[in-house]
Each structure stands twice: as structure tokens, then as C-alpha cells.
Symmetry: C2
Subunit: 319 residues, 2 copies
């Protein structure tokens, strides 16, 4: 994998027709009230406005567009209880492909219903996520179908289109803060921003309660770390090699915030932007609040990667 | 005023360049989970995604574009504690015009801060909204500036662009449900939809705790009614003649829902769409839930007119 070339801006440009066949650009809004709170000039990229409530759908559509006829016939297979699964379900429906998504027993019924409502077959298998994933990988192999992991290069190509939208709307941005789970968002953003203007800082954000990707990036080795965060979009226990490789090449910095700060950021975003962010989507604001001096006076884009916060979690956070 | 011609689709088309100079089209998303709950095929027009969180900004921008140089110099004047004020503030800033907005003593500090952050001068005057409005109308006259009421025709022209976006995305829509406050949204929607396809039903929705516009439309006379709703976007005590005139010409029906149903719809929308709606923005879903048999099997667009729900109100509704 290390010999594989890193995706380029050209790959992102090539993904645009596949993304905009089904989606429209998301807004990038300035928020003067958040600017006063942080001391930076704060803009938010609203990937929470996507049809499935998260940025990943850009990648799923790009992936589905590149399947052969035989692969479309065999169907798509993945394991996910979150935004990746909804993205693949959405893309499969757009292209008339059957998606089969494995989830562990006891998976969030709301998310299962959301994937089923997009036409996906959701199969409960095993006691945890890893068991479900290994099983569905076997099923995909048996049926000659594609298993879609969360860091496939075509996903990164598609996701990069949101970064290009940021650069088109706000070419003089100083820093872009991106939440990191598997890393497709931050890799795509850094490829686009650094190619267009290397002086733009691209900064990852993760919870200190799940710092595997941050510690791996910082140490230059693959570090597994405890994962206790409530924010499932950035809840990575084992780092991903493919995205680490890109991050080492491009990323300027990688900040940690506490879950309590992320929860406070969810409340602040509801109050001042009237947008519901999931934990991952609020992590960039938490970082802008915690590291104020680092961003003072700078033009900062926070990527609100998604808004799929469950109602019971929201009640707990507001309560 | 009754001799004045009713705005036309041509007026809405002419407003488009003024709107899209600053804004992009908002999404119209299908929601299968809401469709299962209601028995209709539910789509939501996301005007809550606008930069000031509500549809009215389309009208403000259209209005500002038509001012003479002398009028721009004199400035814009209005009275509002809500989305109308933010819309005028946004449009004034876009065109480099000074906006002066009167609010009563004790106005919501968050909304005052939002208008000030857009560069508007906010002046507290009087104990209630009517006192503030009369005072600022006098100020506007003294300074030869324009006082912008909530139902001016140019506002309706601009607002109509969202209805045109609906028709372009979903030409086979059966019914469009629109919350009614002063009535600019429902008038604009009915002008556009009825001109393009008279079989599309355009239906107003108001709270039974503030039914002045509904009772006026139903009775054919101007009826003042008690106003106790929590939903300030549809809290009309005295009906507006200009919009009533258009509604009598075009509107198919006008439904009432209770505040408790609107609050439940806010919760349902948060749970199933992860969007925060203000009371007005949730009223169409409340109507689709209450009058299920009326919409069964139909393709229904709910206009989520805005998302500016204050955090303390949200806490009260979720708590």
C-alpha cells in the first residue's frame, strides 16, 4: 500500500461530475457570533446539510460511479452503523445497486431504519463491529462483490469536492479544521488545500478519548489507543494505514479536545448557528475554542462533517 | 391597495438574479422515515439552511436591489425582533446600506445580537412591538428613508424563488404546505405553483393559538384574533390586507394545528431529519401529521421556513 500513489487534486476534479450528478454544493457561512467567542474569523462548511446528513455521501457516489457492470450486478457490501453505511446505501440506490450492510447485534435501531429506508439490506451479525465486518467481507468475496472500506481512494476523491468548494468560496482561508475518524475527510482536504496553496493550514481534530489517529500521526508509527468517546464519527481505536500515509505527507497539525468540550460545542452551535452537529461535526469548534491563541485573527473554516446526533444523546447533552 | 395588480411569476423570475447574486438554492430532500410516519411522500424544502436561517433573506435582497441611490443613502428602516429584521440587516450589509431596526424594550438579546452582528443599528424603543414600529416609521419618514413592512411586494417577488426551486426539482408535487405569519411565503408559493400547474395544492398552516390570518381567509373579512402561540414566526394578531388579497385569489386551503402539535413536530424533525426548526418551520409537518388522511399517498413538500429556535425554548420542548 505504501507504494501506491497518493490521490491528487486531479483525482478530485475528476470526481466532481459524479458528485454533482446527485448533490449540490453545501453552504459555507460566516458566523460573526462564533467569531466573537473565539477571536478568529469563523466560517462553517455545512456538510450536515447533505441528504444523508454527512459529507461521506460524496465519496459513496464517486465509488459507485466507477464500478464495472459485473460489480454493480454483484452489489456493494460494507459494515457500518453510521454515516459510511448511509453513504453507501444512498449511492447504491442512486445507481440501482443492491447494498448489503452488516451491523452488530444491538445496533442503533434508528440508524438501521435509516439505512433500510434507503433500500439497503441490513444484516445483524456478531457481537461487535469487527465480527460483523469480517463476516460481510467473506460474503462479498463469495459473491464477487466489492467490500467498501472507509478509506478507499475513490471515497477520498469524492470527499475532496467539499474542500474544493471551500477554496472556491474562500480562497484566502488561513486554516481548515477537520474532524478525523478514519481520515478520509482530512486527507481529501489536505490534498486539495495544500496543492492549491501550501500556506493554508490543514489541521485534524480528534477526541482525547479516542486519540489513535492523532498518536499515530504524531509518533510516525501505528498506535492503537483506548476509545471511549461518545462521538462515533471520530471513535477510532485502530489507526488506518492508508490515510496515515497521506496525513504524514500533508497535515500541518492534529489537535485533541475532550468529549466535554465537544458537547459544549454542540450546544454553542445549536445556540448560535441553529444547526445540529454530531460529535465529530462539533469537534472543530471545540478545537477553535480550546486553542484560541493559535487561531486569533485568522480566517478559519470549521468542517461540520455531519449532523446525525441521536435524539437521546442530544437530550443528555442539553439536559 | 386592492387595485394594485397581484405579483406574477414574471416578477419572481425577475427577482432571481438579485437572489442568486448572494445566495444559492436550498436543498429539497425526501425523508422516507417521515413518509412512513405520515403516509404521504414527504419532502422538505430547507429554507432553514439560509445564511440567516430563514427564507426571508431572499426577499430582503430583492428589495435592497431595487432602491434608488438616494434611498440607499437614506438607509433602510424596519421593526422586527425576528427573521424579517435579520433579513433586512443581511440585505443592507450586502448593498452597503445602513439598516436601522426598532425593537421593544426587553427584546430577545440573542436576536438583537444577531442583527447587530450583521451591521444593523438596533434601537430599543417602547414597551411593545407596535410602539417600536410606529416610532421607526416616523424616523424613516423624517430621513426620507424606506420603512420596510413584512408584506411588501418586492419581498414576495424574492421569496417566490424558493417556490420556483421546488417546482424545478419536483414538478410532480401534489401539495405544498407553507406556514403563514404575515403571508409573504404562502403568497409567493401560490403565485408560482398555481401559475405553473393549477392542480398543485398550496395550503397555509397556522397555529390555532394565533389564527387571525386563517380566520380572515376563511371568512373573507379582516379578523383580529387572540395570539398566544410560542411560535413567533406565525404569531399574527392583526391580519395583513395585501397578502390576504393574494391568498383569496390563489390559496386552496388553510389548516390550523395546536402549539403542542408544533412542538412535537420540532422533536420529530430533530430526530428524523437532524434539522432544528423554529415553530413556524415545524408547523407544516404538524399539519401533515394531524390531517394524515388528506395527504395519504400524495407527494407533499413541507416548507421548513426557518430554524431560528432559541436554545431555552428548545430545552423546554425536549425537556
Amino acid at each position: 500500500m505504501t507504494d501506491h500513489p497518493i490521490p491528487t487534486l486531479t483525482d478530485v476534479l475528476a470526481a466532481r461530475p459524479h458528485v454533482y450528478r446527485y448533490l449540490q454544493p453545501t453552504p459555507l457561512h460566516p458566523y460573526p457570533t462564533l467569531s466573537r467567542l473565539t477571536g478568529a474569523d469563523i466560517w462553517i462548511k455545512h456538510e450536515n446539510h447533505q441528504p444523508v446528513g454527512a459529507f461521506k455521501v460524496r465519496g459513496g457516489l464517486t465509488y459507485a460511479a466507477h464500478l464495472s457492470a459485473a460489480e454493480r450486478q454483484a452489489g456493494l457490501f460494507t459494515a457500518s452503523t453510521g454515516n459510511h453505511g448511509q453513504s453507501i446505501a444512498y449511492a447504491a440506490r442512486a445507481y440501482g445497486i443492491q447494498a448489503t450492510i452488516a451491523v452488530p447485534e444491538g445496533a442503533n435501531p434508528g440508524k438501521v431504519a435509516a439505512m433500510r429506508s434507503l433500500g439497503a439490506e441490513v444484516v445483524h451479525h456478531g457481537v461487535d463491529f469487527d465480527t460483523a465486518r469480517e463476516w460481510i467481507m467473506g460474503v462479498a468475496a463469495e459473491r464477487n462483490g466489492r467490500f467498501v472500506g472507509p478509506t478507499e481512494e475513490l471515497l477520498i476523491h469524492g470527499v475532496g469536492t467539499y474542500a474544493l468548494e471551500i477554496l472556491e468560496s474562500l480562497p484566502d482561508v488561513d486554516a481548515i479544521l477537520v474532524p478525523v475518524g478514519a481520515g478520509s475527510g482530512v486527507c481529501a482536504t489536505s490534498i486539495v488545500a495544500k496543492t492549491i496553496n501550501p500556506r493554508i493550514e490543514v489541521i485534524g481534530v480528534q477526541s482525547a478519548q479516542a486519540p489513535a489517529m492523532q498518536q499515530s500521526w504524531q509518533s510516525g508509527s501505528m498506535v492503537t489507543a483506548p476509545n471511549t468517546t461518545f462521538a462515533e464519527g471520530i471513535a477510532t481505536r485502530v489507526p488506518f494505514a492508508n490515510t496515515q500515509r497521506i496525513m504524514r505527507h500533508y497535515l500541518d497539525d492534529f489537535l485533541l479536545v475532550d468529549d466535554a468540550e465537544i458537547k459544549q460545542a454542540i450546544v454553542t452551535l445549536l445556540e448560535h448557528t441553529h444547526n445540529l452537529a454530531e460529535g465529530a461535526g462539533a469537534a472543530p469548534l471545540a478545537a477553535a475554542m480550546r486553542y484560541k491563541e493559535r487561531f486569533a485573527g485568522k480566517k478559519v473554516v470549521l468542517v461540520m462533517s455531519g449532523g446525525n446526533l441521536a435524539l437521546d444523546k442530544l437530550r443528555g447533552i442539553l439536559g
